[in-house]
C-alpha cells in the first residue's frame, strides 16, 4: 500500500466512481426532461412589441409602415422555397421609404418560433407551414386580424378581396378573426394519367359505383385502382370527407370541422365509407401501403403506373416531378359522389389553400408584416409565383391559357372554373394536430385490417376525445 492510498484516498475514489454512476443515472433524466425546458422565459418582457412606431396612413401605405423601419419575415422553406416572399419584399422596399425587409427561410417553424412567441418578440410575418408547423389554434389569440389586409387595395389599386378566388379565406378564420391568410391555392382531386386513360378508353369516376367498375377494369389488366403510403393514409380521409360533403352538403363539413358527436354516423359519410370498404375488399388497393413510405407509394402511381388514381392536393405534380413517367399527362378530376343527385354538383371541389401567413401582434412591426402580405397578394407577385412554381395563389386569373405547359395546372384551373362557387374547405385535421392518429386508423382500414364500422368508430372517438378535452383550444367553424 502506498502512503497516499493508506489515507482517505480509496474512499474518495470509490465515492468518485459513485458520482460517475449517479451521473449515468441522471443522464436519462436529462434526455427526457431537457427537451421540455424552455430556452429562456422572457415572460416579463412580453408586450414589448405591438406598439411599434407607425408612419402616416395613406393609399400607398394603408397600414402606416414607419419610414426607415425593418420588417422580419420568416417563411417556410419547403416545396415553394422563399424566393416569392423575397420578390414581394423587394416590392415593399421599392414602394416604402427606406423600409428594409429581411426574409429568412425555416423548416423548423415550431421549434424556432416557440421561444420567440413566449418571449414576446416574434417575427412580423410568419409562414406557418410544414411538418413542424405550430398548431394555429394555439397561437391564434396572439395574431393580428388580417381583415384590413384583404380590405386594402393591392399595389394596382384594386381591393384585394375582389381579386381572390371564392371561399379561400374561411380556413384562416379563428373565432371570427381572420388570423391567417393561406396563400397557395390547393385543389384536392383524384389525379390520373390522361394518356393511360385515353389509351384504355377509361374516364375518371364520377360516382363510387363507377369507381368500383373502373377498379374491376384495372384488375383485369393486373393493375390497381389506388395506392397509398403510410404517412399519407390521411389523404384518403380527405377524399372520403370531400365525397361526403358533396353528397350531404355543407352541413357535413360543419359537423366534421366542429367535431360533432354524431359526425361519423351521418348517412353521407356512412355511404362513402361503405363504398371505400368495397374498394378495399375487392382488392383494388395496391397491397403493402401501410408499410410503404409515401413518396415510394406515389411513384407506384406516377412512375410504375401500377395504380390508376391517387387522391392528393395539387402539389402532387411538383412533388413527383422527378418520378413521373414520360408522357404521363397528369390530370385532376373531382372526387366522386355517392349518388348522381348529391347535394352539391360533381364539379364541386375542395380548394383549401395552404401556406398560412400570419402576423403576430407582438412583433416589432406588424404593419410591415401586413405590407409584405399586401405585396404578395398583388398581381405582380402572384403571377411570378404561378410562373415559377407552376401553382396558383389564391389570387384569381394569374394562370395563362397554356398554364405554362403544365397539364396538372391547366386541369386545376379548369376544375376551379367548373366549380365556380361550389368550393369548400376545412383544415381541422391540421388545426388539432390529428394527422398521426388519423394515419393509424386509415392505414388499418386501407390494408383491410379493419372495416368501415371500426374506422367510423375510431374517428368518432378521436373527435370526442378532442372535443371533451378542455386543454385543447377549439376553433368554431361556420
Amino acid at each position: 500500500m502506498s502512503p497516499l492510498e493508506s489515507s482517505r484516498t480509496p474512499l474518495q475514489r470509490r465515492s468518485f466512481l459513485k458520482a460517475i454512476t449517479a451521473g449515468a443515472v441522471v443522464t436519462p433524466f436529462g434526455l427526457s426532461l431537457a427537451s421540455c425546458a424552455a430556452g429562456g422565459s422572457g415572460g416579463g418582457e412580453a408586450g414589448g412589441g405591438g406598439g411599434a412606431a407607425t408612419g402616416e396612413v395613406s393609399d400607398t401605405n394603408p397600414f402606416g409602415v414607419a419610414a426607415g423601419s425593418t420588417v422580419e419575415a420568416v417563411v417556410f422553406d419547403g416545396g415553394y422555397g422563399t424566393d416569392y416572399a423575397s420578390f414581394a419584399a423587394d416590392l415593399v422596399e421599392q414602394n416604402q421609404d427606406g423600409v428594409t425587409v429581411e426574409v429568412t427561410g425555416s423548416t423548423q417553424i415550431a421549434q424556432q418560433m416557440q421561444p420567440r412567441f413566449v418571449g414576446g418578440n416574434p417575427p412580423d410575418l410568419l409562414d406557418n407551414n410544414g411538418a413542424n408547423a405550430i398548431g394555429l389554434s394555439t397561437i391564434a389569440a396572439q395574431l393580428e386580424d388580417l381583415s384590413d389586409v384583404v380590405a386594402a387595395p393591392n399595389l394596382e389599386g384594386t381591393t384585394i378581396e375582389d381579386t381572390l378566388y371564392p371561399n379561400v379565406l374561411g380556413v384562416g378564420m379563428y373565432d371570427g378573426k381572420l388570423a391567417a391568410i393561406n396563400y397557395v391555392l390547393t385543389v384536392y382531386a383524384l389525379w390520373y394519367s390522361q394518356s393511360l386513360f385515353d389509351a384504355n378508353g377509361w374516364t375518371p369516376p364520377t360516382t363510387w359505383d363507377e369507381a368500383l367498375a373502373l377498379g374491376a377494369a384495372a384488375q383485369e389488366q393486373g393493375l390497381y385502382l389506388f395506392t397509398w403510403g403510410q404517412e399519407a393514409a390521411s389523404y384518403y380521409l380527405t377524399m372520403a370527407l370531400d365525397s361526403a360533403i358533396k353528397e350531404g352538403g355543407d352541413e357535413v363539413r360543419l359537423q366534421m370541422a366542429n367535431l360533432q358527436p354524431d359526425a361519423w354516423s351521418g348517412q353521407a359519410i356512412t355511404d362513402v365509407l361503405a363504398a371505400m370498404e368495397q374498394v378495399v375488399a375487392s382488392g383494388y388497393m395496391r397491397p403493402g401501403g401501410a408499410g410503404t413510405q409515401f413518396t415510394a407509394a406515389q411513384a407506384q402511381w406516377s412512375q410504375a403506373q401500377e395504380a390508376l388514381l391517387y387522391p392528393s392536393g395539387s402539389w402532387i405534380e411538383n412533388e413527383m416531378a422527378e418520378a413521373t413517367a414520360e408522357g404521363f399527362v397528369m390530370t385532376g378530376a373531382p372526387t366522386p359522389t355517392v349518388s348522381a343527385d348529391a347535394a352539391m354538383p360533381y364539379a364541386a371541389i375542395n380548394n383549401t389553400p395552404n401556406e398560412p401567413f400570419v402576423v403576430p401582434s407582438q412583433g416589432a412591426n406588424p404593419a410591415g408584416g401586413k405590407e409584405v402580405l399586401r405585396a404578395m397578394l398583388s398581381p405582380e407577385t402572384a403571377t411570378e409565383f404561378a410562373r415559377t412554381k407552376l401553382a396558383s395563389t389564391i389570387v384569381a386569373g394569374t394562370i395563362p391559357e397554356d398554364a405554362f405547359g403544365s397539364s396538372a395546372l391547366a386541369s386545376q384551373v379548369a376544375m376551379l372554373d367548373a366549380a365556380g362557387t361550389d368550393t369548400f374547405n376545412y383544415n381541422f385535421v391540421q388545426t388539432y394536430g390529428m394527422t398521426a392518429d388519423v394515419n393509424v386508423l386509415w392505414n388499418s382500414f386501407l390494408s383491410g385490417a379493419s372495416d368501415a364500422a371500426a374506422l367510423a368508430e375510431g374517428m368518432q372517438a378521436m373527435f370526442d376525445r378532442i372535443r371533451e378535452d378542455d386543454a385543447v383550444v377549439k376553433v368554431e367553424v361556420s
Binding site: 454512476t21 449515468a24 436529462g30 413542424n132 394555439t138 410503404t292 392505414n443 388499418s444 390494408s447 383550444v473
Partner: protein
C-alpha cells in the same frame, strides 16, 4: 483497468517530496489547501455548470408539468397534478408507455445476449486444441460487426425502411425469391403483428457490434489462466462462457444494460425513421414521439413535460432495478465500461 493498481502506487513516489519528514500538522494543512483548490476547480465550477445547465432545466420542466402551458404564450396557468391525471386516462399515452416498456424489456436483453455470445466466439470460441483463442478471422468479424454502430441512427432507419419496403425491399425480394409467396407485398412495418418486432431487429442490429467489442475488451482483461484451468477441468465453451467469462465481466454487463435500457426508452430516431406516425394501430408509438407531437404539433407543453417526468421516473426506476438485481447477484466493481 489492470493498470490502475501500479499507476496509483507510482504517483505518490514521484509526486510527494521525500526529503525530510514534514510535521504531520503542516502536511495536513497543505493537503487542505490543495483540497480546496481542487474542489473549487474540479467540483465547484462543474457543479455550478451542472446546476445551471442540468438541474435548473429539470426543475423548470417539472414545474411546467404542473401547468397548462401551451408553449407559445407567456401564460402558464397552474393546474397542479391535472396533467398527470389526464395522462393516466389517456389511451394513446398509456399504449405508448406500454410500447416503451416492451422495448425496455426486450432490446437490452436480446442485444446484450447476442453481443456476449459473439464476444465469446471471438475471444475463446476457437479450436479447443492448443491455447485458448477465438474463431479464425475473428479480427475481421469484430470490425464488420462494429460497422452498424458507426452509421448514424437516422441513416440506419432509412436503410432499413427500404429493406422492409413491401414492393421492392430486400427482405421481401429474398423471401419471395426462395418461394415464400405469401410475403409478396407484405408490409413488415405496416402489419400490427410484425411492426414492433421489425423495429426491434433494427435497433438490435445497430448495437450488437458495439457491445460485442466492449465485451471482448472486458473478457480479454480476465486472466487467460482461468480459461485454461477451466478447460483442464473439462469445461466446454458454454460452461467457460457462463461460469468464467460472465462473472468476470459482470460490471461491464451491468453498465451496458443500463445504457441499452436508456436507449430503448428513448428510441426516438429509429421510430421516427421507420414509422413516423406511430405504426399500425399505434403499435410502435413510443413515449418520446408522443412527447414531441404533444409539445410541438398539439401545443401542449405542460402535458408533454408531464410525460417527460413520467419517462424520467421510469428510467430511474429501471436503473435502480438493474443495480438492485446486480447487487443481489453479487456483482462488484464500479461503473466500469
Amino acid at each position: 483497468m489492470t493498470q490502475t493498481g501500479p499507476m496509483t502506487a507510482a504517483v505518490p513516489a514521484a509526486g510527494t517530496p521525500q526529503q525530510g519528514a514534514p510535521p504531520p500538522a503542516r502536511r495536513r494543512r497543505r493537503a487542505g489547501l490543495d483540497r480546496i483548490s481542487l474542489m473549487v476547480v474540479f467540483l465547484g465550477v462543474p457543479f455550478a455548470f451542472y446546476v445551471l445547465m442540468v438541474l435548473y432545466p429539470f426543475t423548470q420542466a417539472t414545474y411546467y408539468s404542473l401547468t397548462a402551458w401551451t408553449g407559445f404564450s407567456p401564460e402558464q396557468p397552474f393546474v397542479g397534478l391535472g396533467n398527470y391525471a389526464r395522462l393516466a386516462g389517456d389511451p394513446t399515452f398509456l399504449s405508448a408507455l406500454g410500447n416503451s416498456l416492451t422495448l425496455l424489456l426486450v432490446v437490452p436483453l436480446v442485444t446484450l445476449t447476442a453481443s456476449f455470445a459473439l464476444a465469446v466466439l471471438i475471444t475463446f470460441g476457437g479450436r479447443s486444441a492448443g491455447g485458448v483463442r477465438g474463431l479464425r478471422g475473428s479480427g475481421f468479424y469484430r470490425v464488420v460487426s462494429f460497422f452498424p454502430y458507426v452509421v448514424p441512427a437516422i441513416v440506419i432507419g432509412i436503410i432499413w425502411s427500404q429493406v422492409y419496403n413491401p414492393a421492392n425491399g430486400l427482405l421481401n425480394g429474398t423471401l419471395t425469391a426462395v418461394g415464400l409467396d405469401r410475403f409478396t407485398d407484405f408490409p413488415w412495418l405496416g402489419d400490427v403483428d410484425t411492426a414492433m418486432a421489425a423495429t426491434v431487429v433494427v435497433i438490435i442490429w445497430s448495437f450488437v457490434g458495439f457491445y460485442m467489442v466492449l465485451f471482448v475488451a472486458a473478457i480479454q482483461s480476465i486472466d487467460t489462466e482461468l480459461f485454461e484451468a477451466a478447460r483442464l477441468d473439462g469445461a466446454g465453451r458454454f460452461r467457460s462462457a457462463v461460469h468464467v467469462a460472465l462473472p468476470g465481466i459482470a460490471g461491464s454487463v451491468r453498465t451496458a444494460y443500463v445504457y441499452m435500457g436508456i436507449l430503448a426508452l428513448d428510441a426516438f430516431v429509429y421510430m421516427q425513421a421507420l414509422n413516423p406516425s406511430g405504426g399500425p394501430e399505434g403499435s410502435t408509438l413510443v413515449v418520446t414521439q408522443e412527447i414531441y407531437s404533444t409539445a410541438f404539433s398539439q401545443g401542449q407543453f405542460g402535458v408533454a413535460c408531464a410525460m417527460g417526468v413520467v419517462l424520467a421516473a421510469v428510467t430511474l426506476a429501471f436503473v435502480g432495478a438493474v443495480f438492485a438485481v446486480a447487487r443481489l447477484l453479487g456483482v462488484r466493481g464500479g461503473a466500469r465500461a
